[in-house]
């Protein structure tokens, strides 16, 4: 069972900050894991082995992983489950995959696609307008072909490249009316697919509840230390992992047949029934852990990336996308994947310092991921949605920007239409909303509706409350 999401009591909700609900922890946990290979165990000699070969524990472990198919495949349940998963994916070769990339903190849309063709831009952004900073014109990328009043941030040039190839659809002002300017509330709204502070299931989790599998936790995978709230499901299992090659279990002084049985026990202890809600939650997590361990066992020995594909180094976001492409290439039955983009975007101050660097890593990784999928022949099956909980206020605060309303989203993939969705609303005084923020020209629930209907080919009404009330843009190439 996946961690069950219990229904909250209304009073409990009212009493707690919304921030206490339905949000995941952020990429910072991963900062320490950002070094490629850091997860691989060091070799340590001296571990006695049944075979008495004098092999170190490390090499013994990696061999166990490498031989996992052979050793455990002789009859262990793990490989059966994995085989079943791969078989299911093989039976449905066109199974679409959606990757949700979250830019955490509220990414500044007016810097990602700068309205350099709008007179008021430099007035609102006397220090932060692209082109005015230390780097001058080097901050400016190409103009957006559909609306030449907008100009890419040069840090997003990798996305501009994909856009020129017709593989990126730009949503320059996505959001919802009466935007909530709290990180936690607005993010929650996006995660649950409704402006409902009481919702406890993620929109992707609800999709999986209705159209997913009862025993495949990989169908909803968070690449990170925590489960993404977007994937929080009510009845089907979903999973979180930092990187597949890190998903091993060891205990000091345990090897051989005892170790095999011990690893099986992890999940077995989670399968026990109980009437206690807290214990049921803990056991659900243990059961999901046991199943996931069996599924990813073959990755313990590493994986390869196609020649010619180069990911940025030193970024956990990049590493995770690279691992994701490999998992998809191996036919693992993934359907919805959630991952945080590189860095944080809550740029109240020193925006010029952090934003370009985080955007550079994020966009560079996304380009490499697309190239990787193309090299593997998977590019038609995968769609990537890049989003943030809101944009930032047009009027800068000195060295940064405060919370705003409409933000920017991107849809990336070989299948996307590649044209702009919703126009840029303008930044003249009467173009902005009552709080002097950017107005939304497309609604995120309309985007979700379109993804469900056009990408997953399911009825959106049962996943997104009131779906028919939101216009669904055409997302895919005809």
């Amino acid at each position: 069972m996946a961690p069950r999401v219990t229904k909250p009591n209304a009073a409990e909700i009212a009493a707690c900050s919304c921030g206490g609900y339905s949000r995941s922890r952020l990429l910072r946990h991963a900062a320490g894991a950002a070094i490629p290979g850091a997860g691989l165990p060091a070799i340590e000699a001296g571990m006695p082995l049944p075979a008495g070969t004098g092999m170190s524990r490390r090499s013994f472990l990696s061999r166990t992983a490498g031989l996992a198919m052979a050793v455990y495949g002789a009859g262990a349940l793990g490989i059966d489950a994995l085989d079943a998963g791969i078989a299911a994916a093989a039976e449905a070769p066109d199974q679409p995959v959606l990757v949700s990339v979250f830019l955490d903190g509220g990414a500044d849309s007016l810097s990602m696609l700068a309205p350099t063709g709008h007179a008021r831009y430099t007035q609102l952004r006397p220090t932060l307008a692209l082109g005015l900073g230390e780097d001058g014109a080097a901050e400016l990328g190409p103009q957006l072909s559909e609306d030449t009043s907008l100009q890419w941030h040069s840090a997003l040039n990798p996305l501009a490249t994909l856009h020129a190839e017709g593989k990126v659809s730009v949503l320059p002002a996505i959001g919802y009316t009466d935007a909530n300017q709290s990180h936690f509330t607005s993010r929650h709204f996006w995660e649950v697919g409704a402006t409902d502070p009481f919702a406890r299931l993620g929109w992707l989790g609800r999709y999986l509840d209705q159209h997913g599998s009862a025993d495949n936790p990989l169908q909803g995978l968070s690449l990170g230390y925590d489960l993404s709230p977007s994937l929080a499901s009510g009845s089907v299992p979903v999973a979180a992992m930092s990187r597949p090659e890190e998903y091993d279990f060891w205990a000091p002084g345990v090897w051989g047949p005892v170790e095999t049985a011990m690893l099986d026990s992890i999940g077995n202890l989670g399968e026990l029934p109980t009437g206690d809600a807290g214990l049921a939650y803990a056991r659900g997590a243990a059961a999901a852990t046991g199943r996931l361990r069996e599924q990813v066992a073959p990755f313990q020995s590493g994986y390869t990336t196609p020649p010619g594909v180069t990911y940025p180094t030193g970024s956990s976001f990049s590493d995770r996308l690279r691992a994701l492409a490999a998992m998809l290439g191996a036919g693992l039955p993934l359907r919805c994947v959630a991952i945080n983009g590189a860095g944080g975007y809550d740029t109240h101050s020193n925006q010029e310092d952090s934003l370009p660097q985080n955007l550079t890593v994020t966009a560079g990784s996304l380009l490499a991921f697309q190239r990787d999928l193309e090299a593997r022949g998977l590019a038609d099956r995968v769609l990537t949605l890049v989003w943030s909980e809101f944009g930032r206020r047009p009027d800068e605060n000195g060295s940064g920007t405060d919370h705003g309303a409409a933000g920017t989203a991107f849809l990336i993939g070989s299948a996307v239409r590649g044209t702009m969705i919703g126009e840029f609303p303008g930044i003249a005084a009467n173009d902005l909303d009552d709080d002097d923020n950017l107005r939304a020209t497309s609604d995120y629930r309309g985007l979700y509706r379109a993804l469900l209907e056009q990408w997953f080919a399911v009825d959106a009404a049962s996943v997104i409350p009131g779906a028919s009330g939101f216009t669904a843009p055409e997302l895919l190439k005809p």
């Binding site: 009073a11 707690c16 509330t185 979180a240 205990a251 345990v254 005892v258 202890l269 944080g344 109240h348």
Partner: protein, 533 residues
Amino acid sequence: MATAKRKPKRRRKQRACVTPKRRARAKRAALESYTPGAEAAARRRKRARRKCRPKKRKRRAVRRPTPILQPVPPPPRPATPGPLSSPLAIYGGTFGVRQAERLLWRAGFGPSPGHAQALASLGLHGAVRSLTRPAGAAVLTGATPHDSDDSPLYPEDAWGHDHLWFLDRMVRTNQPLVERMALLWHDWFATSTAAVEQRHMMVQNQTFRTNALGSFHTLVRAMTTDPAMILWLNQNENSRWNPNENYAREVMELFTLGADRGAYTEDDVRELARSLTGWTNSWSAELGTHDFRFAANRHDANPKTVFGRTGTWDWEDACRLCVEHPLHSSFLVGKLWSYFIPTPPSDSDRSKLEQLYRSTGYQVRPLVEAILLHPQLYGGPRMVKPPIIALAGWLRALRRPIDTSAWVWLADGTGQRLFMPPNVAGWDDDRWLDTSTLRARWEMASYAVGDRELAGAAMDEYDETETPQQAVAKARAFWGDPPLTGETVTSLTAFATDCLPGSMSGWQRHTYRAIRQNALRVLIATCPDLQTS
């Protein structure tokens, strides 16, 4: 950071390991660390920010010949005997060892050997009183902590030592509730070293301890003037010329009122931000950020309208307006309760607690006492232990001192690195366990037992007649006989039976049984039963 002038040795060491490559990594790590004030971290990169991560993921802890067995901290003693009072119902059932254990997990870090028995003998009121009104100053019992290099802890500036220092207090204190409240407030007023120097975090941590069970109004005022908080939520950049809303929004949304309750409007955010203008600080290469102060010339002295009340409000008024807000007491009571009991209070209990809170002038101790005496704590469902509580509990049970830096990076994976909450809203207590954090708990448990692994002679001489039942009983005793459900014991016994091959050669009979014992220790520590209390 890197202001360790007093510690030339350590500093030299750190400098030595800052290779350009490492520095680039540290820079990227800083960039990838989200905080609502991450930009401040970027700014401070320019100052020598030296982080040396130890080699990660050694497969096994360094084996020490004999594990050091820590003396047991004395249980807390009530200052004065006699029953406590509460406007709510008081638990009237048996108060035995199992109930004392649950109390110690919810209001502390689990029992040390003998601790639950001692508490049970005090009875419910005596036990709660010993926690909420401990006599005298806290006593830390046992060996002083050190890192993996046998260095003493420098929590103000050495990487990870902040985490080890607080963890050590959790393990060795005889006043567990005070430390638990310090952790609670750290979560409530979540501030992170991602954007704040460690020395400021240590000052803030002491403020939490000092005000652990006192007035919440005092605490809000202390946080509003706290250097770590001022840096974290950009109060030092909130001036009358450029109001920065960060602190104003969070003090209402996360600290005192709650979002989406109709307690405040976007206009209130802007007006409160203006009220809170005026804070600033100095910076020098020598001292880093220092001299945090209110500068009248930075303050917007014009009238503001907050919650419909107009005045020339300043930061003190801002704090007062928030705690006097009619929706504050319900926010505080509900949130405080949720740290101890997973099911919400009844409407009548809630309003009695609110009344108690207001009538005592925003005092926290009476609320905590009423909650710890409440039947719902003892009779209600289990609650997931936060990972740092689980670890502190293991170390208490094992009587193991803080002797490795591994706890720092292990904490990252479990989702709870102290002084690094994920964001300004703190940790999410609804989501401690999933496939990723549970694996990290497993790894942490492996390190916890690593210094007493059965190996070598202990393996060769292991009892080759041990039955599965004996094996399980022995592993339970290893952890101080924590409560396990019948079905978990059955499942563990099945493992202990099935894990041995049907026929074993001479050396295998004792070796495999020793391995089985090693495995049972980790399986018990990480089993779902013991992730909850």
